[in-house]
């Protein structure tokens, strides 16, 4: 059996009396799309924050690509190939779309204590940025300030910035958040094109998208993984029915994933 790319063991995080994460175990295998689902307040965003290094866990270990990264900073994790997108769009609003991506690439091509040469002359940075923007369908918007892009476009820029770091693992925190049907469908199609090319840990509320894309699904409830398995197994799991999907919605979901 292959080694997991990301292995979370016994992770715990408390806020006051609330167990946001408690004794959480999770393995992400290379090449898979691993979805994490769960009701609001189940601890999904807290999990992403701990995986990306924005929050330090109280207990447990996070092993990524063979190394213990539990105590590493967010920047150091990014350097090792762990990239994240944010649930609430987090781009550099007063930078152009291109410069947003350029910054991402710059972070991973040597240090930036370069005080004298204009960055605009580093054509390879800009060529690479254009390729990434093309990939997410933002080529025509490259020169616009990120702040004036539409919500859907900003969401795609968000992903582009993560992709531009050349990650081994993508942590996508609700990439479809706040999108209309058209943008959602487009984003879902785009995520489909990443399948097989990237290892992805996906947090998403849209069950159609999750069941269509994911190779494996882990269900969180009260900060714990209550089930983990293929989409079919998750569907059949009685505990998941109780905790999350609910009897009624499960019947509907059954129809949706049948196709």
């Amino acid at each position: 059996m292959a080694e997991p790319l990301l292995s979370v063991k016994g992770l715990a995080k408390r806020f006051g009396g609330v167990n946001a994460t408690s004794d959480l175990h999770l393995d992400v295998m290379p090449g898979e799309i691993h979805a994490v689902i769960g009701p609001n307040g189940a601890g999904k965003t807290t999990l992403i924050a701990q995986l990306s290094g924005m929050l330090k866990p109280d207990q447990g270990t996070i092993v990524f690509d063979g190394a213990d990264i539990t105590r590493l900073s967010a920047a150091a994790r990014s350097k090792r190939g762990l990239a994240r997108s944010f649930q609430v769009t987090s781009v550099f609003r007063d930078f152009t779309a291109t410069d947003n991506v350029v910054l991402s690439i710059q972070a991973h091509s040597g240090h930036s204590f370069r005080f004298w040469q204009p960055v605009r002359k580093e054509t390879e940075l800009y060529d690479a940025a254009r390729r990434v923007l093309d990939q997410v369908g933002l080529k025509d918007r490259a020169g616009e300030l990120a702040g004036v892009l539409s919500h859907g476009e900003q969401r795609r820029l968000e992903i582009a910035m993560a992709l531009a770091t050349g990650p081994k693992l993508l942590l996508l925190d609700e990439p479809l958040a706040g999108m209309g049907p058209e943008d959602s469908a487009r984003m879902a199609r785009f995520l489909g094109t990443l399948k097989g090319r990237y290892t992805i840990l996906l947090i998403e509320h849209d069950m159609d998208v999750v069941f269509a894309l994911a190779d494996r699904i882990t269900v969180l409830d009260y900060g714990q993984a209550i089930a983990s398995g293929t989409p079919e197994e998750i569907h059949a799991d009685p505990e998941v029915r109780r905790a999350y999907l609910g009897e009624d919605s499960l019947d509907e979901e059954g129809g949706a994933t049948g196709c």
Partner: protein, 319 residues
């Protein structure tokens, strides 16, 4: 290169101000207002200080309320060495800049652990500490300050006691600081600094250890601020704790905000307008701050890009 082809109100204004600075020693006597030469030296020195503050405040988004401490460090190094009759600029200036670098490294290392209001307060606290150090230095005149007998000596290369020479040395340093900041903010380093102002969490998420970049920026600004202090002591031939009182730090922030945060030339415009306005208004009434205060509030509300914004510089802060 294509300056003429791209002549905008903004570039014309920059050109006009720099031309005025370059030619003032000839204009002032011609219009019978010789004291304008001194006014402009003061403006240019403050402009250097404001340009250095703009690097951290305007480009980096770090609101330091203690920048006057570097002015003081530069001035006091020159003053104290002169007190011991060490006048050589080749000793005074490198030593002052070194002290500026070491202090900004130490102060920055601590202050940059904090953000927002805490950063403002802790930089202010450090500046006040250094201010009171000056007040308590009885040997060097404490409150009353210290008179400097001679300007820094450049070993026969240049004679700073010659008014015209000194004027152009200050002018050259102003151009040099503008040039340095221009290169910095357009280089990789500047991208990082501007990125941190825009969204620091995101910078960390894409892989930048932001703390060390902010610290480097703080030190560069501190050293440039120290340079302004060196020139200040030489100009006034006098040092006193007053030049690093917290209101001085506040004035520098005024200049940067007035000129336009995060624009290269903004702080120079800000220094020009601020010093002229304070000169002009204080001739009218002693309570000139009553007029100046509301003016500044209006600038902040209606012209968020400051003078640079009014001249069509690109807006930096979007909703």
């Amino acid at each position: 290169m294509n300056l003429r082809a791209h002549a905008t109100p903004r570039s014309l204004f920059t050109f006009a101000v720099l031309a005025l600075c370059a030619l003032m020693p000839f204009i002032a006597p011609a219009i019978g207002q010789d004291y304008y030469v001194d006014v402009f030296i003061r403006i240019m020195i403050w402009a250097i200080a404001a340009v250095s503050l703009n690097l951290i405040l305007g480009y980096g988004g770090m609101v330091s309320f203690g920048h006057a401490m570097f002015l003081g460090l530069g001035a006091y190094t020159v003053g104290i060495l002169s007190y011991y009759e060490i006048y050589s600029a080749f000793i005074q200036w490198p030593l002052a800049l070194l002290i500026g670098a070491v202090v900004s490294l130490g102060v920055g290392a601590i202050c940059l652990r904090t953000k927002g209001v805490y950063f403002i307060m802790i930089t202010l606290a450090f500046a006040q500490m250094i201010y009171f150090l000056g007040v308590s230095a009885d040997e060097y005149g404490s409150d009353d300050g210290l008179i400097i007998d001679e300007r820094s000596q450049l070993g026969g290369v240049l004679d700073l006691d010659d008014g015209l020479t000194f004027y152009y040395v200050v002018f050259a340093f102003l151009l040099l600081s503008l040039f340095i900041v221009k290169r910095l903010v357009n280089a990789r380093f500047g991208m990082v600094i501007k990125g941190i102002r825009s969204n620091e969490d995101r910078m960390q998420a894409i892989g930048f250890p932001t703390y060390r970049y902010k610290l480097a920026c703080f030190v560069i600004a501190g050293v440039l601020g120290t340079l302004a202090g060196i020139l200040f002591a030489n100009f006034e031939k006098f040092i006193s704790p007053d030049m690093m009182y917290w209101t001085r730090s506040g004035e520098m922030i005024f200049m940067v905000v007035l000129g336009g945060m995060g624009s290269l030339f903004g702080p120079v415009s800000g220094a020009v307008v601020y010093l002229f306005l304070s000169e002009f208004l204080s001739n009218i009434t002693e309570q000139w701050h009553i007029i100046f205060g509301p003016f500044l509030i209006l600038v902040v509300i209606f012209a968020r890009g400051g003078i640079d914004g009014l001249l069509g510089g690109k807006r930096r802060h979007h909703g």
